[in-house]
């Protein structure tokens, strides 16, 4: 099962099992908009439950919020996180706040699905990964699956959760395979960061595509006799740093990886949470972070290659933690 298939299976399970679930968003009747992640769902479940929309991000999202107040569990799909900025009011001011503002009486059980769709020389307005923005907003659960089974099971958990959830997937992961597994209905409230690989030399932390970078880097490091522990965050908000803290207490070394920007981003949050919790004496070296550089996304292929973090960057940061020189040139990732 690959990641795109995981998402599609999640939709299929939800639409089949729960009559109150529906999907709405731009491109749902299109052959290409959301990659292979929703192929023919409109045909399978009808255009009344898989609804394509006008080019109106804000009203579409608001409509999903409204339907969610009235007993439905809509999934509103934004084929690009960049466009979703136009809908931020409904996500941040409405969905995330209604429960609190109404004393727990309103339940906007809406799932907002945002797709990170970058690379391919698409440029600065078609490349953003703004998960850190939304992790900043209390009341909004933020979920970033890194594996195919999480892509499916966290989607299901998001939709079945009574709170608003932002579910973020990344098209660079669509072809990644995980072993087949049966569908499980997880309780999103109980999900959080998870150790995907044990190790004792250095802790690598990521989410979404950054987790994939960490896993690849751990392989490379293993070949070099270095034992990296990989923690996949999975849920960015509310952020529970416990698993990361435990891991760093054990390894004494931390590399936080994120495929978003640095300032006020998730990688910094990981380091801050660890620094607050772990005695300085426990740290064998200064924690490091790997993020996008402080620039909008370029288009030229040469600049794109320089822009996005690679497995090599993660490997080298880990080596630096251990006081080792950078590895010999690796093939460029992704």
């Amino acid at each position: 099962m690959n990641y795109a298939r995981g998402i599609r299976d999640g939709f299929q399970y939800l639409l089949k099992t729960y009559p109150e679930v529906f999907a709405i968003g731009q491109g749902l009747w299109s052959p290409w908009y959301v990659g292979a992640s929703m192929t023919d769902l409109d045909k399978e479940f009808g255009t009344d439950r898989v609804i394509d929309t006008p080019v109106s991000e804000l009203a579409t999202t608001g409509a999903a919020v409204g339907a969610s107040l009235c007993g439905y569990r809509p999934i509103v799909i934004h084929p690009r996180m960049d466009f979703m900025i136009l809908a931020a009011d409904q996500i941040v001011n409405q969905a995330a706040k209604w429960s609190h503002m109404m004393g727990g009486r309103a339940s906007p059980a809406v799932t907002v699905r945002a797709i990170i769709n970058r690379g391919g020389e698409q440029g600065a307005q078609h490349s953003q990964a703004l998960h850190s923005w939304y992790a900043h907003i209390p009341g909004l659960r933020v979920v970033t699956p890194a594996t195919a089974s999480d892509a499916r099971d966290l989607l299901i958990a998001s939709v079945l959760c009574d709170a608003p959830v932002l579910y973020i997937d990344n098209r660079w992961l669509y072809e990644c395979e995980s072993p087949d597994s049966p569908v499980v209905e997880l309780k999103l409230e109980e999900e959080g960061p998870r150790v995907l690989r044990d190790g004792s030399d250095v802790t690598l932390v990521g989410s979404g595509y950054a987790t994939w970078l960490c896993l690849q880097a751990a392989e490379v490091l293993a070949a070099d006799g270095i034992d990296a522990e990989v923690v996949d965050l999975r849920v960015l908000n509310p952020f529970e740093p416990g698993a990361v803290i435990r891991s760093v207490r054990h390894t004494g070394r931390l590399v936080a990886v994120d495929d978003g920007w640095q300032t006020c981003g998730m990688a910094g949050e990981i380091i801050a949470a660890v620094a607050e919790a772990v005695e300085p004496a426990c740290l064998k070296s200064r924690p490091a972070r790997i993020t996008l550089p402080d620039a909008p996304a370029p288009t030229s292929k040469t600049l794109e290659a320089a822009y996005y973090p690679t497995v090599e960057d993660v490997v080298n940061a880990a080596l630096a933690q251990l006081g080792r020189a950078p590895a010999p040139k690796l093939a460029k990732a992704s």
Partner: protein
Amino acid sequence: MANPGIWRNEPAAPRAEPETGRPARAPGNAARGAVAMDPPAGNTLGIHDLLARLDSLAEENYFDGPTADATGPARLGALADPRCYRDPLNIAGWGANGLRAMLGGMIAIRETEIALGRLVESGDVVCPVHLAVGQEAIPVGVSHNLDASDRVFGGHRSHGHYLAQGGDLDQLFAEVLGKDAGCSRGMGGSMHLFAPETGFWGSVPIVGATIPVAVGAALAAKMDGKGAVAVAYFGDGAAEEGVLHEALNMASTMKLPVLFVCENNLYASHMDIAQRQPHDSTARFAHAHAVPAMVVDGNDALAVARAAGRLIGESRAGRGPGYLEAVSYRWYGHVGPDENIDVGLRRSAEELAAWKQRDPVMRLGAAMTARGDLTDADIDSMRADAAARAAQAAERALAAPYPEARALFDYVFARRAG
């Protein structure tokens, strides 16, 4: 036309004439004559009137740049003229009981808001309180056609919307005072009301925010298939937010059962509509999106009730959305009980005084006393009762406890009842 005149088959109310020579309609209409202009029938404007007005606007304004002044004459004509529509309402055909309920509803809203204003003045209420005294006929007229299975959404000025749906009075006062007994458990205050048990599904103060939310509630209602409708209340200012247009397009394209109710009180906070829009009637937006619209005197509860009833009836029957523009005026200023007539705005004491003569309560009351449905003394005692109930609710709320500190975290993520 499949059903000519469908919007006109109500008994015509007598039309108050302007006191001055100022014509109730812009002169362009008559002059052109290309559009058949029926004499205004009652105080609801049907689509033909609107198209005629649009046409006259074209004649006068679209092409002659120099005269198309942003601060030019009002296009709502008499509907926006406080010298018109002052007479007692035409209540022929309406039973006394129904009218008494509507009158009582308006009086209850007014007395409640006056009491809230006093709590602001006394300093007991701290949160921003937007009063709609003078606009009571709109929610009472709209809710006349709704029940608890419908889904009503409001904005920053929604006490009346909440009460007209049957929202609890004690819970309203408690909410405005930030008490745990409030309808939103004291977590929202005046601008965040919630009473889904009555069909009032929430108000919030981001201007325009509940418009698409109501469209979503209508989508849910359509999926439910039980004939419920959603209602979005918003103001003439909110009509400047792009989201209204996105919502109108969606509702129109998907044929959703939602009534857009624009309470056009001619002001958005400190700015009158002529400073913000090229035209003073917002129903033109409904037309642009092929949504049936009616424009009514918002100080006539019966006109509102009739028009809303017609549009809601169409929605319940599966024919898609409707748009009701109800023209009114708020007696108080933008926020709190200040009148906003001496703070440097274009709103004047004269304008306010004139609008107080177009009082929606008085006009219904006068018609009922004239017909013998009740006496002036009856009205006085309705008013006194309502004031007493409000005072009592205020007292109870003042004595009630604040939320516990854990409320700060308990409600961040809701769990659904079911």
